[in-house]
Amino acid sequence: MTMLVATVQIQRVLAVDMGILGGEGFSLPVVSKIDVVDVDIELTETAKAALSASMSGEEDTHVLLISAQSGGCSGYMYDMAIVEEPDNSGFQKIQFDRIRIFIHNKDSTMLNGIRVDYKDSLMGGGFQIENPNASKSCGCGQSFS
């Protein structure tokens, strides 16, 4: 697995044109440290079947997008959505038969190694994510840290 660490230090002229952050020549450096790893994920057979059913023949134009963002009781929340293939070069693409999964580079360290499962159950069923990078998960399973 390769690890790329990109530290970007560029100056940004703020959009506001007056006040404490404005004025000619006033700029601040951008804080941006992006760790990117090659993502490897596991998709169980039940998850594959459930995804195929959900995509219903649109596998050529649609992808499963898995992302992580701030929120929930433990710090970060998962988000899964079937969307039209995004026009964005920042994604890593993982193919399982005809199903394509997209994970954005900025989420790669948080989502590398996840196992996506599907439980067919009336209570607590649906897609579930096991994450080896998570030190803690909240009771509902949607939030992790």
Binding site: R12, I20, L21, P29, S67
Partner: protein
């Protein structure tokens, strides 16, 4: 910039047992100053902070805690909506961890940028007796300050906050704003250093780097007013909600006035309880410490096995 050695009168203990400074003073802080740009900045911050800042409109300031998933306080931040950006001021000791948290969870389809304001801006605090009068003296043009709003005058941001019923005025200023520093000098005031702030903050029980270090719950360090139990999920919310519904706080923050240096760590009290001293400072021979002890501690408790006088001051 004018930074002086400390020359101020020591605080007195009033009839209610509270410490009070004789004058308001200006302190230069070692804070983390960041700017979040982007139309979704308030929503993003609201997912992270312990308070509901959804209604942080332009011209407003709101404060909140950044907690870990165990509910422990990792940072205390002031957020100012300055229009198209949010100015975020946190504790300098937590700069890297807070900035990592703020940038890591940005949704891939949101254009949010975090900018480093530390090179260009400075943060000062004014505390002590009637800090608003001191601001009026330096800036007579400034209108009266009110909580949750900030006032900006000639690129200086002033805002009023409260802690343990003490007024605290926060000032954000550009480093190159010579007019600001000249005005302070013209009023015969000085800017005190962060080392001097350590003693001053203890007079009002304001937590510092040792207390805001992912070791203590908001209840332990007197920051209960900065958690909102009805805003929904935020990191640490499960723990805070459980403490609220099934338990009661067991610890609280106290000030210990002594005539010798207090070592950081656990000390026995005369009522058989323990005080855990978290930070300690000295000014002109007066020693103050902040510590955490049981909520049931006796107000008359003194240190045992201590060579000198000690007085516990409850917050």
């Amino acid at each position: 910039m004018l930074v002086s050695p400390v020359v101020v009168a020591n605080p007195s203990v009033d009839t209610m047992g509270n410490l009070s400074e004789k004058f308001a003073q200006i302190y230069l802080m070692k804070s983390s100053i960041s700017v979040m740009e982007g139309s979704d900045a308030v929503n993003h911050l609201n997912n992270i902070l312990s308070t509901d800042i959804e209604l942080l409109h332009k011209g407003m300031r709101m404060d909140g805690l950044i907690c870990d998933s165990n509910g422990k306080v990792a940072d205390v931040v002031n957020c100012y909506n300055v229009g198209q950006s949010i100015l975020i001021v946190g504790m300098g000791s937590n700069t890297d961890s807070t900035r990592e948290l703020l940038t890591r969870g940005v949704p891939w389809d949101k254009k949010l940028s975090l900018l480093d304001g530390n090179g260009a801006l400075e943060h000062l605090k004014i505390i002590g007796k009637d800090p608003c009068s001191l601001v009026e003296k330096i800036y007579p043009e400034l209108s009266k300050l009110s909580e949750n709003m900030y006032s900006e005058f000639e690129n200086v941001v002033f805002s009023l906050g409260m802690h343990n019923e003490h007024e605290i005025i926060d000032v954000i200023v550009r480093r190159d704003n010579s007019d600001f520093y000249n005005r302070i000098e013209m009023c015969n005031h000085k800017i005190f250093r962060i080392e001097d702030w350590e003693f001053a903050r203890m007079t009002i029980g304001y937590p510092g780097a040792n207390e805001v270090s992912s070791k203590y719950l908001p209840h332990d360090i007197g920051m209960l007013n900065l958690i909102s139990l009805n805003k929904g999920c935020y990191p640490g919310q499960e723990i805070h909600a459980r403490l609220d519904s099934r338990s009661k706080p067991k610890k609280k923050m106290v000030i210990m006035a002594t005539d010798n240096v207090m070592e950081i760590g656990k000390h026995s009290l005369s009522d058989d309880s323990i005080v855990k001293i978290t930070s300690s400072a000295v000014r002109d021979g007066s020693h103050l410490s902040m510590g955490i002890c049981s909520v049931d501690v006796s107000p008359d408790a003194t240190l045992v096995n201590y060579n000198g006088e000690s007085k516990l001051i409850l917050l």
